[in-house]
């Protein structure tokens, strides 16, 4: 594992028409990670990834890939990077195999990699078909195969499961998960689907309105959200008054009283207090925050991903 991160951005900003599409983003992707770049549509994911590849110039900030400044060492960095940005790129009048040949010659990759990459994405039986005749999912697979062709050290995938059917999503997910161990590839992938990132990524960066709101491992993200405890009683008003008297700070929500995280002994004690006061306790439940709740807490938005 190298000492410096594979991707490191500082204060990365892109401004269009006076508004910051990407605002002071500081990404850090370590070697061997599957980094999930999560955010709603229009959050600035693709713009950020495009800047990492030098497709668009940042308004401000610095980008280092493999420890090297992107602006100064772009050809060398691109040689070691595979990418699939937005929709897959392909020549529709050429067959899948011919598209791979174009990419192979551009990247100076060995010819044997073509079959290997097509096999990985399960397109080997469709390689003589024109790309125009491919389904959306097949085009996406072709795009992934082209990005994998040189078996790069860093793979940047923008919404890689777009257009794939559930079985295809599963296959691509397993493929991406196998890349770090099998081929030593570090993966940076973006998605607006929480479930996808949750199942694939080892680290996550959450972006909203151009700002990076969270960055860390998936484990620490989950751990950051503690479960809440909810008491449902027959007389919530009296229950609340009794508990306030005893120094507890419940939040009343309908006929429920909600507490931030409580230890088991505290739950037992509150239950006993209520029962002793002849207040029937109907239900005690622990509510663990989902990743979506965490996301909504972070972004402060009640919006669907």
């Amino acid at each position: 594992m190298s000492a410096s991160p594979i991707v490191e951005t500082r204060g990365l900003t892109k401004t269009y028409g006076g508004s910051n599409r990407v605002n002071q983003v500081g990404l850090t992707v370590e070697a061997g990670q599957i980094y999930g770049f999560l955010g709603p549509n229009g959050a600035g994911k693709t713009t950020t990834l495009k800047m990492l590849l030098g497709l668009i110039k940042p308004t401000a900030g610095s980008i280092k890939v493999f420890g090297k400044d992107l602006a100064k060492h772009r050809p060398d960095i691109l040689n070691r990077t595979g990418s699939l940005i937005e929709s897959p790129s392909y020549y529709g009048h050429l067959t899948g195999l011919e598209n791979m040949r174009v990419m192979q010659r551009m990247r100076n990759a060995p010819a044997r990699n073509i079959d290997k990459a097509l096999q990985i994405v399960r397109l080997e039986n469709q390689k003589h078909k024109k790309a125009d005749q491919y389904s959306l999912g097949m085009k996406q697979r072709l795009g992934i195969a082209m990005s994998l062709l040189a078996f790069p050290e860093l793979l940047i995938l923008d919404e890689p499961t777009n257009g794939l059917d559930p079985a295809g999503i599963g296959e691509i997910r397993e493929l991406i998960k196998s890349l770090p161990d099998q081929y030593g590839i570090t993966v940076l992938l973006s998605s607006h689907l929480l479930s996808e990132i949750e199942q694939i990524a080892t680290s996550v960066g959450i972006i909203s309105d151009g700002r990076l709101l969270y960055q860390g491992t998936m484990r620490s993200l989950r751990a950051s959200a503690k479960a809440s405890i909810r008491f449902q009683t027959a007389d919530p008003a009296r229950a609340e008054a009794v508990l306030l008297e005893r120094g507890y700070l419940p939040v009343a929500q309908g006929n429920r009283l909600t507490f931030d995280y409580l230890r088991d002994e505290e739950v037992s004690r509150i239950n006993r207090i209520l029962v002793e006061q002849d207040i029937p306790v109907i239900r005690i439940e622990e509510r663990k925050k989902s990743l979506e709740d965490i996301f909504l807490d972070l972004t402060g938005k009640e919006r669907s991903l």
Binding site: K50, I85, P88, Y91, R107, M146
Partner: protein, 249 residues
């Protein structure tokens, strides 16, 4: 060279060569009929100069449209498949691809110009022209046509790559064909500003009007116009390259 060979690889199945040949065949058939009628009216028209002049004047109509189509076919595939962003993430940069496309388009049209020259030779020999085969005249015809083509393809490529909708580039080709056909009617100061008039202006054969009739004459290519055509080619190429390279994808 790798970028150029890739361009030729990428145009397979685009049927550009077939289209080029059919287009030029139509021009040659038209030219054959026109020259045949002209010779049948006056034996004096059975000259190499008349033949070269007729083809050069027809080129003013056909080659701008042909160039627009060829360049558009070569450039359009990058728009259709959103492949610019893919090309930009490979060690082959956009400027190299731009140069390769320009070379590829011109190489294809050079085939066409050489085929035209061959047609002139074969047609002239079959029609038994009054003078022997003039290689210098034919070489000057090919060079003059080529110079005008270089500038026209540079302009077409700029538009075809900068604007996704190829209707604009094809319209420019048609406007060029119209200007090329009617350029003889414009004053020379105006004509020399319009690159499409150079197909005729850089022709080594001209029709000189006399008091009651005219005659075909040949001469060397005007040096000033050669320089002007080259400058236009360089200007269109450089401007297009800079503009397209700066566009964000």
């Amino acid at each position: 060279m790798k970028a150029l060979s890739l361009e030729f690889f990428k145009i397979r199945r685009k049927k550009i060569r077939v289209m080029l040949l059919l287009f030029l065949a139509a021009e040659m058939i038209w030219a054959s009929v026109s020259i045949g009628i002209s010779i049948s009216r006056s034996a004096a028209n059975a000259s190499w100069e008349a033949l070269v002049f007729t083809i050069a004047s027809m080129n003013g109509l056909f080659l701008p449209i042909l160039s627009a189509i060829v360049v558009s076919r070569i450039c359009d595939m990058e728009h259709k498949g959103s492949t610019w962003k893919m090309l930009m993430t490979t060690p082959i940069g956009r400027r190299q691809v731009y140069a390769a496309k320009y070379a590829c388009a011109n190489a294809l049209i050079v085939y066409g110009i050489l085929a035209q020259t061959l047609f002139i030779v074969v047609f002239g020999l079959l029609k038994q022209m009054s003078a022997p085969l003039p290689p210098a005249l034919l070489a000057r015809f090919a060079i003059g046509t080529l110079l005008a083509t270089f500038a026209v393809t540079a302009l077409q490529q700029w538009l075809s790559l900068a604007v996704r909708n190829q209707a604009f580039a094809l319209c420019l080709g048609m406007v060029g064909g119209f200007v090329g056909t009617t350029s003889g009617l414009f004053p020379s100061a105006v004509r020399h500003l319009l690159i499409w008039s150079y197909y005729l202006d850089l022709s080594p054969a001209a029709y000189k009007y006399g008091d009651s009739s005219g005659s075909y004459v040949s001469g060397s290519l005007p040096a000033g116009l050669i320089v002007a055509a080259l400058l236009m080619a360089v200007a269109f190429y450089v401007a297009g390259n800079i503009h397209v390279s700066r566009q964000e994808v």
